[in-house]
Symmetry: C2
Subunit: 404 residues, 2 copies
């Protein structure tokens, strides 16, 4: 592409310093995106490690931890000790951003409220990720991705009409929260270039999830305010057809028709040009009214063909479609590897693994090289020396006193 | 909250001007977030309206359109006419951002490639949202939320192990793409304060969705690279228990135990302190090994109680939990209304509706007042006069010539 011919500009967040108290998915994703855009992220963990690192020690959290903590400098600090808090404040004085996604009021209980940190550094962006937000009647409710999917209405529209509510199989609320928090932080950084002032920014996962219900809310509104049903793989607003996942001879294929030309082309791809003038399928409204017949017609065609053959045909006829892929296929996707979104790395603890870079592309700048996620406390001495000027004896004393 | 006591600062993106060619969900969500942060968004539609507006005219797209297009100035421009393209370029010369999420190569076919627009305005951020990105072997594939859910692996991990792959009931790929694009744009705006230069930024929905698979990829990695199964409402990595949705007497409740104290407290909430020392449930690893018994134990308790009673008890005992709510409950949530995330407005075309503001909160600035989404072309004359200095006669001629 012409616009990427000269890849020589620095990373856009070069020079931005982040003190990252993030844990599990939400906060760490925001700071991961910052690291991938060039920021210097100091990941501050308790001496036992943050929750996801601890979980990784006994279960399947190892790869998620590695995915989200590349290119951060991991240090330990015991924030329950006065000296630990003091060191954190020293780091914050030199930082542009502090991020936390603790349970409500944790920072206050640690004696590190936002007001204190902003008083120490008026240019600071204090970024808070939470389930329900820093105000309102539910601010103190505990939240994890699962509970937010429940309370945000996502489960009520996932699954089949005759089955129970179901979660999306991915941690969408955690990551929606994290990327919105990234957006809020960078917005405040932009503003600070004009005003010189930092501020508190926050994102509640519940609120970040709301807008994803748009199609379902369309049906809610169109039906006069009734709770919309679960629709399986059909459109959440039940207002488009075809829009479904169809069984192939060896898997499944998603097919969607957005405009009338797509429908005509799909009929041609299926060898059913005889139906071009069928009034049951004359336009989207007619097809929605005959949705079972539309789906049966397509399924009759897809059942007999391999997934890739269906995809090739729909592609050739310019109908939006995709094979349903499993994670072995996704992790090895030549397209994402070719674009540099996914990287095969040799991780010092996990061996050969695939990790993501960032979905945010800045043309004209080479992609960030991956530095594998660090061991617990790997950079503690380096950061305390380089950032705060501590000497070896002081660092030894901090270790002895269980501050780091 | 102390940090919001003085709400007097301007909106952080005040003064930023956006030319928005976005359509449906992905692009319009990015520019909606910009409008909510104070940017001036000029929404440029074809003379018949963008796809979501057209869909709204016949189906359930009315509310989604209203949700995503508050506080934008809607104008029409026929980009297939030379004069229309000329006016777009005139707008771009005065703008900070141009956003598009057309099918691949549409801007090139219109004669409006990124290089041309950046040559006209070197400070421009050219923002491109797509399914697969601007490079790589699959760049020309058509994509919609449904097909991205298929190809990104999300369907493969949603639903039950014995059932077919299932989509998440919400349009998560569209909105993940949109909010990542917002992040990329604002990052480039921040950088431009240092460099004076714009650039092309892009986000592919496929890539924006990848990281949400973190738990599932943990299981993939932990099992030596096998495609993980669908797990219903259990943890996507099958590495936490309890983690499920349980039937109540009148609905469902999600319950999750993150640490050992949560488990002990849940037993107390259930009146089952007799199991505190049961070796089957001694720690998370043991509970995962006895996951069916853990779930049966909790379900025996939840089945007999109303949803809200279960939630009250778990809240009292500090166990993360939430009722599974339907959209009537979500739309009327007192918490999101109290925080100003949701607003009841009188929409000139739709009457009384609920619309979202933004999940990005900037403490110290009052929330944006909602201006309801505009009619097709509502601001065309105003924008062309104020921005480009056209007079009434010129605007009449443009209408006559079907340019606007």
């Amino acid at each position: 592409m012409p616009e990427t011919a000269h890849e020589s500009r620095p990373h856009p967040l070069q020079g931005v310093k982040v003190v990252d108290l993030g844990q599990i998915y939400n906060g760490p994703y925001a700071t991961f995106l910052m690291a991938m855009a060039g920021a210097d992220v100091i990941k501050v963990e308790p001496r036992e490690g943050e929750s996801l690192r601890v979980r990784g020690a006994v279960g399947t959290g190892k790869l998620p931890f590695a995915m989200l903590n590349s290119n951060k400098r991991c240090i330990t600090l015991n924030l329950k000790s006065q000296r630990g808090r003091g060191l954190l404040i020293d780091l914050v004085r030199r930082a542009d951003v502090l991020l936390e996604n603790f349970a409500p009021d944790t920072m206050e209980r640690l004696g590190l409220p936002a007001e204190l940190l902003l008083a120490e550094n008026p240019r600071l962006i204090y970024a808070s990720g939470s389930g329900y937000g820093r105000s309102g009647p539910k601010r103190d409710y505990l939240a994890m991705d699962l509970t937010v999917q429940a309370v945000a209405g996502i489960m009520s529209v996932t699954g089949y009409p005759e089955g129970p509510p179901l979660k999306a199989g991915v941690a969408l609320c955690d990551f929606l929260g994290g990327v919105h928090l990234y957006g809020a932080i960078v917005t405040a950084l932009y503003e600070r270039e004009k005003t010189g002032c930092g501020r508190v920014v926050e994102v509640a996962m519940l609120e970040a999830a709301y807008v994803t219900l748009a199609s379902n809310l369309g049906l809610f509104h169109g039906s006069g305010g009734k709770a919309p049903p679960r629709t399986g793989n059909r459109h959440g607003g039940l207002s488009m057809a075809p829009y479904n996942v169809y069984p192939a001879a060896d898997g499944h294929v998603a097919i969607i028709v957005v405009g009338e030309e797509h429908w005509r082309q799909l009929l041609r791809a299926m060898g059913r040009a005889d139906l071009l003038d069928d009034p049951r399928f004359a336009d989207n409204k007619a097809r929605v009214a005959h949705i079972a017949q539309v789906d049966a017609l397509i399924e009759n065609w897809t059942r007999g063909l391999p997934r890739e053959r269906i995809f090739e045909l729909t592609k050739q006829f310019r109908v939006p479609s995709a094979p349903v892929r499993d994670l072995v296929e996704v992790v090895n996707d030549e397209h994402m590897h070719g674009r540099g979104m996914l990287k095969r790395i040799e991780h010092p603890e996990l061996g050969p693994i695939v990790v993501p870079t960032t979905a945010m592309r800045f043309h004209g700048t080479p992609q960030m090289e991956i530095v594998p996620s660090g061991r617990l406390g790997q950079y503690t001495a380096e950061v305390l020396q380089a950032e705060l000027g501590l000497d070896d004896a002081e660092i030894a004393a901090l270790r002895r006193d269980q501050v780091i």
